[in-house]
């Protein structure tokens, strides 16, 4: 094969490899249910400086839009459907989210904390 062609193929493979890196890395999942226009749990705690996957399950018969200004995320979740949103890495703090179609009831907080080191079992 020609050298320029090899270079192009190599560049594409490298680009795809960098591109797919985030897809292949394991990411912690956190599940949130949306029922009767309320988030359950309304408060979740995630580790700081790590990307996490939020799986939101809309169990209502109407769509809802998961919205958060502080997380910079908004996604429509259709009735009886799930949606996946990646958040992070985030600094420690509280990040509010709400359902745009029912902002008075569908409200929640993502609390970001540094992971505490688990104490070793003495036994």
């Amino acid at each position: 094969m020609n050298k320029p062609v090899n270079k192009v193929i190599g560049s594409i493979v490298l680009f795809l490899g960098l591109f797919c890196q985030s897809l292949l890395a394991a990411v912690a999942e956190y599940h949130i249910q949306l029922k009767d226009h309320l988030f359950f749990p309304s408060q979740i705690t995630i580790p700081a400086n790590q990307k996490v996957k939020l799986v939101i399950n809309n169990q209502d018969n109407t769509p809802e839009e998961f919205d958060s200004f502080s997380l910079n995320r908004d996604k429509v979740i259709f009735a009886n459907n799930k949606a996946i949103i990646f958040v992070g890495p985030l600094k420690p703090g509280e990040y509010k989210f709400f359902g745009e179609y029912n902002p008075n009831t569908a409200r929640g907080i993502v609390i970001v904390e540094h992971q505490k080191q688990k104490a070793a079992d003495v036994n």
């Binding site: 591109f19 890196q21 985030s22 897809l23 990411v27 990307k51 996957k53 109407t62 769509p63 809802e64 839009e65 910079n72 995320r73 996604k75 429509v76 259709f78 459907n81 799930k82 949606a83 996946i84 949103i85 990646f86 992070g88 890495p89 745009e100 179609y101 029912n102 902002p103």
Partner: protein, 256 residues
């Protein structure tokens, strides 16, 4: 809900108004062209909404984000076509510029207008929200129209003083900002890694101006490094290329 409706207008309606005003001043086309674009865009938006369940299932549930991102990329590329059209001084063959601008308006209506339809569809199911929604609509519409008139007058003045490149620059800055604003969509679906914040200017700019500047030129109070890099490249690269093309054609005609 009233506040949410107003914010929706600032976030999704105002970009449409800004783009239409800029293109209207830049191309000095007839009203018919605008109405046609708006009609086509509204129709495409309804088709998009009609198929949105199907689209949302594509690419492992990331279809909506990817389709919106692709819309923004196309709008950006079409703006470059407009700039290229200015480089070519031939007065014939200018019709493609109207088609280009029309497509830009239509695609923007699809990406921004679909949010409207989803939003109002969600709210119409609640009878007690209609009054606050209508009030929010009038407020939001009033804000958008006021700003559109101000921008129209400003753009007209700029075009008279500095020529059509000034209005194209307004379009270019606007579409670059919208392109960068769409980057979080890719982060949301993990197609792009979230990068560190480049700086934070949230204490220097009030939230009202934050929204306005975000629409006009993609201002972010705390942009990521990726957003800054994409913004700089997307803004400056075409300017350098068009400048080089202009110099090249000037020197070429000088040789003749």
């Amino acid at each position: 809900m009233l506040i949410n409706t107003v914010i929706l207008f600032l976030r999704d309606a105002l970009p449409i108004f800004v783009l239409v005003v800029y293109l209207y001043v830049h191309l000095t086309a007839t009203n018919l062209w605008l109405l046609l674009c708006a009609g086509v865009g509204a129709l495409l938006s309804l088709i998009y909404i009609n198929q949105i369940h199907l689209i949302s299932q594509l690419f492992d549930g990331n279809g909506i984000e990817l389709s919106l991102w692709i819309c923004q990329v196309f709008v950006y590329l079409l703006a470059l076509v407009l700039g290229y059209g200015l480089n070519r001084n031939r007065s014939s063959n200018k019709n493609y510029l109207y088609w280009t601008a029309g497509l830009m308006v239509s695609l923007t209506l699809v990406s921004k207008g679909s949010n409207f339809v989803l939003y109002f569809d969600g709210y119409f199911s609640q009878s007690n929200a209609i009054q606050s929604m209508l009030l929010g609509t009038f407020l939001g519409l009033g804000i958008c129209l006021s700003l559109a008139i101000l921008l129209y007058l400003t753009a007209q003045w700029l075009k008279q003083q500095l020529g059509p490149w000034s209005t194209w620059l307004l379009v270019h800055i606007y579409v670059t900002g919208q392109l960068v604003n769409a980057l979080p969509l890719l982060v949301q679906v993990d197609f792009l890694d979230s990068s560190a914040t480049a700086w934070s200017s949230q204490y220097f700019v009030s939230i009202e101006f934050d929204r306005l500047f975000n629409v006009l030129f993609g201002y972010q109070a705390a942009p990521s490094i990726a957003q800054v890099i994409v913004y700089a490249l997307a803004l400056l690269t075409p300017l350098l290329i068009f400048y080089w093309l202009k110099l090249h054609s000037a020197s070429h005609s000088g040789i003749k």
